[in-house]
Symmetry: C2
């Protein structure tokens, strides 16, 4: 007997037939005598529809009310999946975030899980009951519904697997694993049998949508065995594992991209100590995540330009914050550009290989692609380029790093 | 300063513009310095869509999961309306059933309110905050989401008005008041300025959709001043009042109809003591509401026919129950007919006037309409007829009782 968490993405529960199919996959594990927790996402399209309604009502919305609205998507799937399971003879009940409870902090819209009470669910395992837990949502210390940020159902699943000491956490999705690059763009992309937690973390945080960043981070920290696999085909997926489980490393394991970036430049900022804090402090207070940051050297030692990127979801809020601090920070103008894409090459092999960046810059240069911002970490190099070059850049880099399938 | 509960129906919050319009109506009361609680329904069509999904998944569904799914409709409107209010400078927050809390029993799908904790909401009045409370939902003693039955938002509003000692409970809807008959069918129907609680109760329970039965019952018992008015036009509505506030009574105040009926006949039931309990006990255990009941006199003293009606929502469940008790009750066959309508004439004046039923039977007979079942109370007479005669019957009765507008 094993304890298993199964997470299903939005496409996997996209209509009634697919929810029935998912119920069948759950039943298969349940029939083996396993203790099963299922975490469904909202049906595909539903969350976007809800977010559109919120934006139509109020671009600068109260994130507490945002959470009240968007949490309904998973609530609906949860109820329907519990019914589908009952229909095929599997005892099941739905659990909403506040019922489990999944306790979070009160950073609405992107809350972090603080702890999970597992007694309720575990006590039902003895009765053979499957727990259908709403992904993406929790409850704040003030008793309000919180959401964990887009893709948060992955985090729910991994956190539940960790709290329950589960033997496995299967992430069922509409692709059959993790690829060297998005196969919809790069036809020669290959599926990876295994990937390290660290690479997966960079892939996810650099835009690969197959897993949420925090879910991977949590799985790495808590030692949760993660598998990304297809909800539609019965194929082995990609295992996310410790580095020592992979014998031969490629220098670069994958290439990710993110269109969810907007570039902001504060032109003519005073070049003096404390100015960065004066800009990024207020942004952080408004829960705006800043990603790449570049500060140019100032010619005269008085004024400089500060460039950074923010997520598109935070863009309007970031601009409002920056307009609000214009008097204290005293910049000359705001230069805004949402038409950018961040492309990243990722691989733990970079640690022991030189010249990885050079290959990237050359490959992009050969295609005439201008690099606007560069940022690096130990195992990844990211560049910001004009969005129109996305596909061209991805294919060029995939070839340049020798990742193309035969 | 007054304390006011405002309830808005599904059409009134049917899209973003209408939610904004509702926010304006709330602001108008708030600007007068009043303490305001708003109870929005789900956006029109949403609840039906959710119910369709549930039925597609499972006709004989677990009502606990039904409630999890359908409660999302009001949750969405609540969040959006709170945002709309904040947008126009009115401090507001959403409250879900479990947050208020609105405590109910655990009869899922049609739970009854057991008590409302008002401290949380009242404490925010001091800060000028409007409470946007999700209609139709509560929390059971076991901590699960319950729903109050279709139209349950009216009950939420009245129960809140009672618990808060509100000065008024305004029910905003897509019609401008209570009519002598459905004006979409009876062109000569007239709007009533006032109607008694008792008549309103019969109108509602006999199918007039303008107010939920239990809401009226609760308002009557708790002395809540109720007004039915238009969400779209600034017109006086219909006041629901005590009988002594109405000086001149018509014998009949209104005519209602309900298509939400299905007729069930158990043919050849043993005519012996305890047989009714053997049939209606199991139906009641399955939370099937039985309405009109007729037992024919048996010719031979051994076998008889038992006819009754159930709500269409309970129809499949009722049939399943009846098939399950076939061995114990031993009837010959089940005769099922969902194509029926119940037409009722209602008026407190009936108490002191004879011959009211005769007018009804004659009017229907003149149009060649066969009466299948009759049931009466002190202030109403209901008949079950074939559904195809609905409009003909309503217009004939409206004229026969002298209700036609000039």
């Amino acid at each position: 007997m094993a304890r298993i968490v199964q997470k299903f993405g939005g496409t996997s529960v996209g209509d009634m037939d697919r929810i029935r199919h998912v119920a069948g996959l759950v039943k298969a594990e349940h029939d083996k005598g396993n203790e099963v927790v299922v975490v469904p996402s909202a049906m595909s399209g539903i969350t976007n529809g809800l977010v559109d309604k919120i934006h139509a009502m109020s671009p600068l919305h109260d994130t507490r009310e945002y959470d009240v609205v968007v949490a309904t998507g998973e609530q609906v799937t949860c109820g329907l999946l519990a019914l589908a399971l009952q229909n095929i003879g599997v005892p099941a009940r739905s659990w909403l975030g506040w019922q489990v409870p999944i306790n979070t902090d009160d950073v609405h819209g992107k809350a972090r899980i603080a702890g999970i009470g597992t007694e309720n669910i575990v006590s039902r395992f003895a009765e053979g009951q499957v727990a259908v837990v709403a992904g993406f949502q929790g409850i704040s210390p003030r008793g309000r519904i919180t959401s964990l940020g887009r893709g948060g159902s992955d985090t729910t699943a991994v956190a539940l697997a960790a709290a329950l000491g589960a033997d496995r956490c299967d992430i069922f999705t509409d692709v059959d694993g993790v690829y060297t690059a998005d196969p919809r763009i790069v036809a020669k992309a290959r599926k990876l049998d295994k990937i390290t937690y660290e690479e997966m973390l960079e892939m996810a945080s650099q835009g690969a949508k197959v897993l949420q960043t925090r879910a991977v981070e949590l799985a790495m920290n808590m030692g949760v065995r993660l598998q990304v696999r297809s909800a539609f085909e019965d194929l082995p997926g990609t295992l996310v594992v410790d580095e020592d489980e992979i014998v031969e490393h490629q220098v670069v394991s994958g290439i990710a991209y993110s269109r969810d970036e907007a570039k902001v430049t504060l032109v003519g900022v005073a070049d003096e100590p404390g100015i960065a804090a004066g800009i990024f402090g207020p942004l952080s207070d408004a829960s705006v995540n800043v990603d790449m940051i570049v500060q140019n050297v100032s010619a005269d030692g008085k004024r400089t330009d500060m460039t950074f990127t923010v997520g598109k979801a935070d863009y309007a809020r970031a601009v409002a914050v920056l307009e609000g601090i214009r008097d204290t920070v005293s910049y000359r103008s705001l230069d805004l550009n949402p038409d950018v894409v961040k492309v990243s090459v990722i691989g733990v092999g970079m640690r022991s290989h030189a010249g990885v960046a050079t290959i990237m810059f050359q490959a992009l240069s050969e295609k005439g692609i201008n690099i606007q911002v560069i940022s690096t970490s130990e195992i990844k190099i990211s560049v910001l380029i004009a969005e129109e070059y996305t596909e061209l850049a991805l294919r060029a880099l995939h070839s340049a790093y020798g990742l193309d399938a035969d």
